[in-house]
Assembly symmetry: C2
Homo-oligomer: 464 residues x 2
């Protein structure tokens, strides 16, 4: 009732049975809420938090509901207020001389990309869910995607934030500054905290010049070691022009051919085990990009850092190559559920990790099929494991916990992370307790206690 | 006595009268300490902190003592233990496939640059004090310098940290990962906290390919507006090849000619008001860099974004142009003390800021001379103000507080920061209370309380 007075009756839903907000997109996590609210401004969010503090009601913020860790799904108590920022989706300002944009958290990523392009600038965050995910979600999870190699994660793209604190105060930290050393870095603490430390309502983000030309190639490698050595060569030769380096195993390409028989079929007969989609962004011209390609790839062939290469000769061919990468999740989904592991490793340990972990899985779970792909340039593997041929998905998935424990143990042993870009949410909360030291967990708990002493912000997420 | 048992008598100095450690390099701040200690390992630092906790003795860490804000100078109580990490200066590991280096906090920046270069890599942090400042100090202050435009501040160069907490525990966060979303971002909280939240003992940092060629030019502009418009053009044309854009006013160039009569004298008769040192780093070749220059500068002349340009034709000419920039602090020091303001602004507001603030200063302090230079590409001005001709430095400096208040008020009004790259220390501590909102100050205080509940880490610094 108080919420309706605050936000207007039209913007508060009390009856939410069957609502899509209550489950994650893969229908793994389900919750209940006391109300779903749609505040229209930062001031309304602040007032809302104060009402919730008064009633000791937890707040869960949800963006495009595209996350994979259950971070935006409320718990089962039904006490929470679910906050949707869909009415706070304005682009407040684009400053082309400063190369910044200030945008509200409810803005859909693709809308921001489009607005930047219209202003003659690039907003480089790019990921599969960009048509429905929101900037608030990207900030809450420090989203990665396929442009990280050149432009960094969401954190590196962010200069300033506006946050409503757990007390219902507004912190205006919307600074468009590239250098600012005036006190503790609150910004980066809120980014990636998955709604557990504050509610991000707006951000000031970096923009970049639009590249003049983009070139794409699909590369074939005899081994993962060769792909890693090529990457090092390509970083030196292309420098910051190298904007994507997306790894796909031969098994992934085969699955794509099978699930998308009408899609592109490059390297269908190739004997190589590994492939990578390489993208170059050039400030000069298409001709210049082609010269760079010839120069770096030619040298790579000479040095035996590359087995084969397919260079897109047109925008259509480039789009076809990217389509492979973009169809990857769907191809896997069509085949049936598999075990997903979003992990990162030092790039120098990746070949070793894959070799050892693949072998260990075969020893313990004979016949499982690795469908490994990911952002090799960032050390980020989507180390997915499908059922052995002929085994039912249900039988396979029954081993999820045991198999994942093995994958995560090896990740940890080689200095990697159990979550590269998907976050922790509720899914990896208990796992966090296993992989983090007591010192790190204690530091995190103290920060949570300091910024959300009542524990009302997204309870049950992130911290074990 | 307990400290001598812990670290060995040779590594504990009780008698420190007259020691250089007790004052900052400009002899503005002075303190006293109970002891100066030189621990040899992270474990020794942890044990040291536990002893200090037991005795409630504050700890002040000092690197190369090159800071300008008094952050590394102990207070006058004489209770503190001054921690020098000069024995912890090892480069623990260089991983060229992962493009990372793990280094101890006591390592001098230039030694790290050299080690990276020997491994065929670039560590891009570059600043005037690099021959004596340490990585620990760079991390503690989130140091900037002249490579930020392309490579970011120290924070953006850091992947992982090792920190001794205020409880004397060791947090091993030395991860060499480019994507890692597993819990709160402790790393960036410790970076830039100036030794008030923990003691950074080591870091894993990013390395980059060594550029194949570097090109330098000194550019002349009719106005600051023109320089800002050129910068935008250059960012689009050069992309990430643009690695420095260092602004100097005509008054700065005149002062250099006067104080370094045997030094380079470019544009001695030029009528322009503003100049910028531009550096291009190229992954291909010197010839390629020259072509880029011609292409972008040619277009800039056509568009009237540039009044004149002097392109270095040799390494010697390039070094001479950089010498101008590097002599700037010394030229000012030779003329006598002036009022320094290390500020940052949105790049789009810089011309307006300089015009308005210059005028306001003339109205209130007639005859003062602006010696404005800085990292325009980062929005970072060193907005320095010298005495009117004929006025003594002492008379001039007597107005420091009043004049600075005006400069900082204008900075604040245009969305800028009162400290771009020098930090807060003790110098700007009280100023912080004026420019930050109560909400931001409260968040910072809670974090300090959470991570250093006894207030033993570098007391009296940063927080008002």
């Amino acid at each position: 009732m108080q919420l309706q007075q605050l936000l207007g009756a039209a913007h508060v839903q009390d009856s939410t049975a069957g609502s899509a907000f209550l489950s994650d997109r893969h229908h793994v996590y389900h919750g209940q809420v006391a109300a779903v609210v749609h505040p229209a401004s930062t001031e309304e969010v602040a007032a809302l938090v104060r009402v919730c503090v008064h009633h000791r009601a937890p707040l869960v913020v949800q963006g495009g509901n595209t996350g994979l860790m259950g971070a935006a799904t409320p718990d089962a108590t039904g006490n929470s207020v679910l906050v949707l920022l869909d009415r706070m989706n304005r682009i407040r300002q684009i400053d082309t001389d400063n190369d910044t944009v200030t945008v509200e958290a409810g803005c859909i990523l693709q809308n921001l990309q489009d607005a930047a392009r219209e202003a003659g600038r690039l907003f480089p965050l790019s990921l599969g869910a960009q048509g429905s995910c929101t900037l608030g979600g990207n900030l809450g999870t420090n989203a990665g995607g396929s442009g990280v190699l050149r432009y960094g994660n969401t954190r590196e793209l962010t200069l300033g934030l506006e946050v409503v604190t757990a007390d219902g105060d507004i912190w205006n930290g919307l600074r468009g500054l590239r250098k600012d050393n005036s006190g503790y870095d609150l910004r980066d603490l809120f980014i990636g905290s998955e709604g557990t430390l504050g509610i991000i309502t707006a951000a000031t983000l970096k923009l970049f010049p639009l590249p003049k030309a983009r070139s794409t190639a699909l590369l074939a490698f005899d081994s993962l070691e060769q792909a890693v050595a090529f990457l090092s060569h390509a970083r030196a030769g292309f420098g910051a022009e190298l904007t994507a380096f997306e790894l796909m195993s031969a098994a992934c390409l085969a699955l794509l051919r099978q699930q998308f028989p009408d899609g592109p079929q490059p390297f269908a007969q190739a004997p190589q085990a590994w492939f990578a989609l390489l993208e170059l962004s050039d400030n000069h011209s298409a001709e210049h990009a082609r010269q760079s390609f010839e120069w770096v790839l030619g040298k790579a062939f000479e040095l035996n850092l590359l087995a084969d290469a397919l260079i897109a000769e047109s925008l259509a061919q480039s789009a076809a190559l990217w389509q492979l990468r973009e169809n990857m999740s769907e191809a896997q989904a069509r085949e049936g559920r598999n075990m997903k592991h979003d992990i990162s490793l030092p790039i120098s340990r990746i070949a070793e990790f894959v070799r050892e972990t693949d072998a260990l899985l075969q020893a313990h779970f004979p016949g499982v099929r690795n469908l490994t792909f990911g952002h090799l340039g960032d050390g980020n593997l989507h180390y997915n494991v499908a059922a052995p041929l002929g085994q039912s998905v249900e039988t396979h998935m029954a081993h999820y916990a045991a198999l994942s424990a093995l994958v995560h143990r090896n990740t940890q042993a080689l200095g990697g992370s159990i979550s590269a870009e998907h976050g922790i949410g509720q899914r990896k909360r208990e796992l966090l307790a296993e992989v983090k030291s007591p010192v790190e967990l204690e530091l995190m708990r103290r920060i949570k206690q300091a910024l959300d002493p009542r524990g009302l912000l997204n309870p049950g997420k992130v911290l074990p």
